[in-house]
Symmetry: C2
Subunit: 230 residues, 2 copies
DNA sequence: TAGTGGTCTAGACCACTCA
DNA sequence: GAGTGGTCTAGACCACTAG
């Protein structure tokens, strides 16, 4: 029969696509499918694992395998280090530090970390350039009680973005995408006009529940995040 | 030893996190890891499969397994049917059709489909409401030569969003996220002010290379897309 | 409690790709 | 050509959960 798990996956996907299997429909159990495809049950299991991952089917012990009732669009985005994103696009990377100071965080930063009260953090603002033009404005809060080494780093030479990624891996990360109007200050640094719509990526990271950093990356006007979904 | 694949995965992740394994470091081969963990090679393989998926390691035949050189943030978003997104949030769903006409698509719509020339399509504009307040403005182009049935549907009663999802599954989907300033028309329908920054999700879908639809979903100001990354 | 999916094993062979 | 990961098998046992 020569059925590989990916061929089985594709065949099930085809049946869903061609509406031979409607949303909510129950599939035969793995044993029966294995017989149909002339393969071991393990192979069916491998195909199903992929279909669960892509959101095509749901599986429950005893309940069996069913086609997902409400189809969704599942997308995956990779957010790379800013420098690499720029260099991969074949552009010259530039960076400079706008400001660096220790101060008490605003309430929304503390609450994003899940902290009850604002506390002292290192606040860093920097700009990433592509071919000498502003590309990303980075506004970052670093919990220096968790990462004291950061205080000794010369952030005018190395971006906090890279230092943290290289030296302070995280176990948990929350990501938010949103749109906002650029403030005067942001517009000036991004060579944009105040009020221009800008795309914002916010990330808050922890290592084993200890907060590390929260960064708001504001992209210059025109930025798009693109990907293909399953 | 009682090592399951997920325990092995977590242990490798821990080694990367604790910097026992640095970016670019080569891991022992599967056979050696299996001996170390006292399990079958298949089990190591299953753990590695997960680590590849989360972007933690890279694997190449003969080349072996290495820790990813440049860590990335990999995020997954599920974009549900708009009605369900609203209802799941416990709000009342509302919908109305703003306009519906057949006309020649703008060039950027055609090129998004990969079409050389603009062609006649069905253009539908609609509004989705949450608790009677504007939630998402939907501007959609439907290739009705591919999906002629859509011309017979009363889109003032059923949204094109749902009809298509229920009746025209897709095999490929490209997703774009961006920010823009609301136009006068968009602002009016979204109860916002012209120029307000709005979050835009664009999706273009095909079935086996035949274009189906392109939708620009514009969310009311304040909308955020949130998720957790690995 | 019985049916279903999830995991694990030991072994085999295959498919890449590095040197 | 040889080393490494990828797939497949046949069978076993476990872990959930619907009825």
């Amino acid at each position: 029969m020569s059925n590989s798990w990916s061929e089985i996956r594709d065949e099930i996907k085809r049946r869903v696509l061609e509406r031979e299997l409607l949303p909510g429909a129950k599939l035969p159990n793995d044993q029966e499918l294995a017989e149909e495809f002339g393969c071991a049950r393990t192979t069916v299991q491998r195909a199903m694992q992929d279909l669960v991952h892509s959101g095509t089917v749901n599986r429950r012990r005893k309940g069996g395998t069913t086609v997902t009732l409400h189809p969704i669009t599942r997308t995956t985005f990779d957010i790379p280090i800013t420098r690499l994103e720029i260099q991969t696009a074949g552009k010259e990377y530039g960076y400079f530090l706008v400001s660096r100071e220790i101060r008490v965080s605003p309430t929304h930063v503390a609450s994003s970390f899940g902290l009850a009260k604002p506390m002292e953090m290192l606040h860093v603002v920097a700009l990433h350039l592509a071919d000498k033009k502003p590309y990303i404005y980075e506004d970052r809060w670093i919990v220096h009680s968790t990462t004291p080494e950061i205080l000794d780093i010369d952030l005018s030479r190395e971006s906090a973005n890279e230092w943290l990624i290289r030296n302070r891996p995280y176990s948990d990360c929350e990501v938010r995408f949103l749109a906002k109007n650029a403030t005067h200050h942001e517009a000036e640094l991004l060579s944009a006009d105040p009020g221009d719509a800008v795309f914002v990526m916010e990330r808050t990271t922890w290592i084993n529940k200890a907060p590390i950093t929260m960064v708001r990356a504001i992209a210059a006007p025109g930025y798009q995040l693109v990907t293909k979904a399953s």
